[in-house]
Symmetry: D2
Subunit: 457 residues, 4 copies
Amino acid sequence: MIKEACGVLGIANNNNAAELTRLGLFALQHRGQESAGIFLKRSGQCELNKGMGLVGDVFDKLPKEWWKTEGQTMAIGHVRYSTSGKSTLINAQPFAVEFDKWHLALAHNGTLSNGAYWRKQLKRSGAIFQGDLDTEIILHLAAQSHQEGETPWKALEYALTKVEGAFSVVALCEDGLMVARDPHGFRPLALGRLGDAVVVASETSAFDMMGAKYERDVRPGEMIVIKEDGSMQSKQFATASRISHCIFEHVYFSRPDSLVFEDCVYSLRKKFGAQLALEHPVEADIIAPVPDSGTYAALGYAEASGIPFEMGIMRNHYIGRTFIKPSPEDRKTAVNLKLNPIRKAIEGKRVCLVEDSIVRGNTSRERVRTLRENGATEVHMRISCPPHISPCYYGIDFPSAEELIAHSHSIDEIAKIIDADSLAYLSLDGMLSCASKDNADYCHACFSGEYPVKPKM
Amino acid sequence: MIKEACGVLGIANNNNAAELTRLGLFALQHRGQESAGIFLKRSGQCELNKGMGLVGDVFDKLPKEWWKTEGQTMAIGHVRYSTSGKSTLINAQPFAVEFDKWHLALAHNGTLSNGAYWRKQLKRSGAIFQGDLDTEIILHLAAQSHQEGETPWKALEYALTKVEGAFSVVALCEDGLMVARDPHGFRPLALGRLGDAVVVASETSAFDMMGAKYERDVRPGEMIVIKEDGSMQSKQFATASRISHCIFEHVYFSRPDSLVFEDCVYSLRKKFGAQLALEHPVEADIIAPVPDSGTYAALGYAEASGIPFEMGIMRNHYIGRTFIKPSPEDRKTAVNLKLNPIRKAIEGKRVCLVEDSIVRGNTSRERVRTLRENGATEVHMRISCPPHISPCYYGIDFPSAEELIAHSHSIDEIAKIIDADSLAYLSLDGMLSCASKDNADYCHACFSGEYPVKPKM
Amino acid sequence: MIKEACGVLGIANNNNAAELTRLGLFALQHRGQESAGIFLKRSGQCELNKGMGLVGDVFDKLPKEWWKTEGQTMAIGHVRYSTSGKSTLINAQPFAVEFDKWHLALAHNGTLSNGAYWRKQLKRSGAIFQGDLDTEIILHLAAQSHQEGETPWKALEYALTKVEGAFSVVALCEDGLMVARDPHGFRPLALGRLGDAVVVASETSAFDMMGAKYERDVRPGEMIVIKEDGSMQSKQFATASRISHCIFEHVYFSRPDSLVFEDCVYSLRKKFGAQLALEHPVEADIIAPVPDSGTYAALGYAEASGIPFEMGIMRNHYIGRTFIKPSPEDRKTAVNLKLNPIRKAIEGKRVCLVEDSIVRGNTSRERVRTLRENGATEVHMRISCPPHISPCYYGIDFPSAEELIAHSHSIDEIAKIIDADSLAYLSLDGMLSCASKDNADYCHACFSGEYPVKPKM
Amino acid sequence: MIKEACGVLGIANNNNAAELTRLGLFALQHRGQESAGIFLKRSGQCELNKGMGLVGDVFDKLPKEWWKTEGQTMAIGHVRYSTSGKSTLINAQPFAVEFDKWHLALAHNGTLSNGAYWRKQLKRSGAIFQGDLDTEIILHLAAQSHQEGETPWKALEYALTKVEGAFSVVALCEDGLMVARDPHGFRPLALGRLGDAVVVASETSAFDMMGAKYERDVRPGEMIVIKEDGSMQSKQFATASRISHCIFEHVYFSRPDSLVFEDCVYSLRKKFGAQLALEHPVEADIIAPVPDSGTYAALGYAEASGIPFEMGIMRNHYIGRTFIKPSPEDRKTAVNLKLNPIRKAIEGKRVCLVEDSIVRGNTSRERVRTLRENGATEVHMRISCPPHISPCYYGIDFPSAEELIAHSHSIDEIAKIIDADSLAYLSLDGMLSCASKDNADYCHACFSGEYPVKPKM
């Protein structure tokens, strides 16, 4: 599984800030299911609440009083992804500290490509770390440049000029809300309005949930301080040689109903599918998606190819994160327990299956096999992005290069391994041509190995 | 919301019976989310476990020992729907009692149309009732005709000839597993095989989950006793003047990947959509479903009409049963929090929205409104079944006739109320013509008011 | 461990009935820690709430609304003991059923000595049983004699004349509260007043907790129906040849601050200790109790003997029911984890340890051993009742006769087994002479083997 | 309520370290009920587990694997007290950080009297704080003096020479276990052996629970580093002008079965009672303790005065921390719900009630009142320590001076306020004369206002 690195959200100048943050986090839940947290200012005081699990798990137990509206004027929220390894509360965000006289909390989406370097340096100069979060690095850097008595914003700005890589950050203290985005603009961060309130979120789907309207993206290298009364001060704290939006947000991570990097994810996925049909046509009776992520590219492929679209595989949404797999696993793999082919839609058909990626290959092999078991006469696979060959240093948790099947196998070899009658990937140029922005605006290191910023250890 | 009355499952002759029952219930979860239960025979002894909530909630807390395989040779399982009113553990199923020297448990799907009558009669003769379940009525009737020392099957058969209406029943005691279906065959009940094991379930999707193969439906009026070794004895305990399968199982309740009444639900829903397109064409730019239930009819409609299919509305699966609605509800209704329109897919388009039913009308009005807000120039609604005008006495929890908008309003009036540019329903004859069985084989009382069995109070 | 069979409580004519029932159950918690339940009439309707665990576990999760006061005029409550075997919700009380047009719930303390007989008979006549409770027997018997349209009281009275053994019963339906006690008066049941409200409880400690005043005991063979307005109707439904109060309530079960069978438990336990000192003096430096149950007899022994009383063993109240024992159990037994000797109070002393009973002997052996380890030069044991030699059929869960050490060993042998320097028990006559009532009023079958009612199978 | 500041525990060289730490914490539970935590080294790696609630609540949910024994060679544990104010997980201990290449955790008992000063200083030099713990101050001080590549011990030693006030500290990293005690020896810290293992704990009751033997106290100003193999290196890191053990540990906090400051708490409390009888005799019929804390002084008083000892008040141990008080509180105060007088022991008697302290006075007034209601003809109060007049800066959470009744009222006035027939306190000299150590060895600032170290802000 490919994992996203978190979703962030912030709101200022609304007396229902906590409740709206909770709602918005529900719309960012796909960006992180490990932990959720809200830090808010209420009656002049700051308060933190975070816990392990889904947004509902963490916040639905809280007493009603916690959501009381009066005097809640600002809040930030965070959802964190679930790594395969250790997942502990210490790494949940927002991360809150006493900072001079302030209660300051930070939440971020992304990965610092020079995080390891700074962690080492900071330890040498006497910093102690609680967990593995890049957030702590930013806070320590800020603390060391901070002038007593000032607000934390200047110190945080300093810190943001020292760190490199991907970061979309929201911070809150008694003085206000701060939002910033790394100069390359790796991860999305959108700015919106809800009446007099200012809102920011990783994706605009959160705005829809909150009833807010999208206004514009926070600019790469921009830092905005928003006061309790909604007044904003923006500043360009750094500039990169070129913008590098993560193209994989469009392929997989973001919700189809979000505007990301000013593009509609849903439309772009359909375009990827159409372009894929153009590049790699197929002789098939039906186009079927692997739901839910392959659905939109499959629709595009079907429309462009004229071949009928069928929901040939059904997804069981009741099998969630906590589903306990049956012990005699040989019978059926867990992936099959979630996805069930509809025999009548498949039987006797040449099926073209559209998916958004092949990571290790074993899941795809399993899917091909069950389609054949359900009567498919041929199974063709079409992938709506190029092969993954390189790791990501900017916030996406890919398997190591060795585990990526395309790292060491040709497309023909992969086709054989997964037992598909044919296999084809969308080309890098084809993919980039779909996006409305200039090709140069995207980071595609995971497909091309071209890294906008080198990691520093 | 229209609610189904439960799902049942049974398995005999498998030493992994409990685990397989849990898995199968995951595939029946859509038929009941209020409570779940399993009754099994393990090492010669019977044991019950049931609780409030989803299958995962109820069973994932159990210690691993509970699922231990050796000596588990038979089990039955049940999921129950969530009514708006009281939902208590006392009404969870299977319902287990000491019956002579047996530990006997019963689980059923359906509603007895003479349940009220028998409850009154039984109380008069000294029976005491724990809860509101029809299951208790069947057990009391059986107990009163039971001969000491015999197995409970004969007494249960007697009971089943006394009750009327809809019942698909599974029962288990130390002696074996019993399954039966009312003579009209209102509710589905399928029979399958998993190696040497015999399985029964409300829907075949449970078989897919368990790795079992569908064999045939339990026949209306058939009762089968299955011993621990898998040996079966079938018997026709009653015959109805005509078969009356619930057509609404196909329209809404059953999973699209199930075979129900020997028909593929997915294919039938697409046919309903195609027939609807034939009967009520539309001038529109896109066909969009209300996900997830309207998706398949919308696909059929799009295919038949040649108008492009768009997933114009996105569903948030993280907003579940336990989602706590925000207090200032005027802002957005809960239905909108689950479903989010994708502006780019809708803007400037004449949208034809396909849904499976209009119950009270307020939800549909809300949907039309949000589509217009997102830029739809016209909104047409097409419903993949006839208008609901009458209550169901056979296991479906419709609102009362007064609350059904079609009970007291013409289609034109409804169109005005929900503010649609046009509105049309599939005709009863059109709907029945899609099903592969003889028209006479279906109950369509909720659409036609023609009741196969009159309720008896 | 010797286990009590439950505690019951009832209240009528108080608009805070639910809350007071919860409070009172806290004071009866020592009589049953397995499950707790409350059945109440609120705004004309009856409602049940019960669950596994301590009173706090079961009721502290309930929403505040549940305890709302208006219109709550009657309630009954129950705590159930934890058997070593199966403990399931099905056996929690009160046990509620639909009874004619009434919602009727019953809760009882005691064991029917002809319960097995009636269960068999009732099954033959078509009754089905949910669990193992004697409560169900009483309800079935009542149902079979009930005349349609009447209140359940007459039918319940009939049932109570059919059953034998120990029962202190509370029942509630829309019509009122009923309380009754078996004609032998095996188990306690006290009647009190709280302003205009009528209250009943197994022990008067519940009255203290509720702020109520003790008035009198419910008489053996008495049945009282109490209406919502507090009006009472009493009736003698049966009479036994002689009263047979359970003397072991005084020795062990009841709280020292309760009045039981009109005697103060605290005072009686001290008298048992004084009498024991008289019958079996000791040459020792200190008298030490096994806390908490041996404390009061030890005080009496010390006072009568003039030997100093020392709390030589400390009890850790944080080690509760759910304490998970350490795996390498050889190191220390669980009993020692709860009780810790105070070396300075014991070292170099001849210790006389006072306890309320020796059941199997292994716990006592362990206690003697740890006292010696902590420097006791001699350890003498004095038991504040006669040796247990026979089982109880009236509500106390003793180990089987074979497991009772005194059943098959002389006192000298037991002394050797537990390694005490001396061992002595209070005599039966001595014990009975302490109680203020006539000797004949007590059941002492567990010490004497003389059973007031023979069990009937 | 007077609150203790925590209990600590450590163990090295035992492959059952985690399990033993859990057990030991059960014996320290009275020192802190807010949160509990264990930090351990297992298979070469360090791991933390902490949570809110009692030891059982926090650790009983953990999977068995967590307690697995192999390779667990060292652990530290902590229980924290519950303040009236905010209690959050962030303040739970042990507090674990990345420290250079080490995973280092610290847990402490006590309060730094110059903590506020250092916190301010450290923030100025760029330190950021997570919570309110003194532990963080010690870690920051250590981090700032740390030489890269060394073990943390030298840096921690440096830190301990900078901080003042009360601290009994345990620390653990991959290199070993460190224990230290402030040079005044305010809080207890005992050293013991369990076979080859070395153990330390706030009180020796933890050793009894673990099966370990007490060896000696960690000396004031001593720091000991213990390696995984049990080898120890001790060092005197600082010396105070005089030792200042907290005498209130003996009066109230410590368990009676602990050796604290080399004295048996149980014996000392009895001596306090006897001395009190000598200083302030009473004409009474019975001596009764307020259980449980007043029991031992009452025993001493009774023995010395020759007046009979009676357990005149019964404590309900089922009413715990989470007990939800009834809403109509006017009826009975919560204190009365826990403690119930035994009328028969009190009625018609002149009662002398022995308690360990009067803080605000309202609880005592309530106790006197209920004794009179239960028939006491006179109520005399005897307190087993001098009046509390001054705050504690060394780890005890007294109410503010204004709230301490003895701060602003004479003993006669207090007697009137609580409505006692007489009231007397143990004298300071009398109290100190009971302890086996030199009077000068004790801190009695809360009684005398003489502070061994002045707090520094």
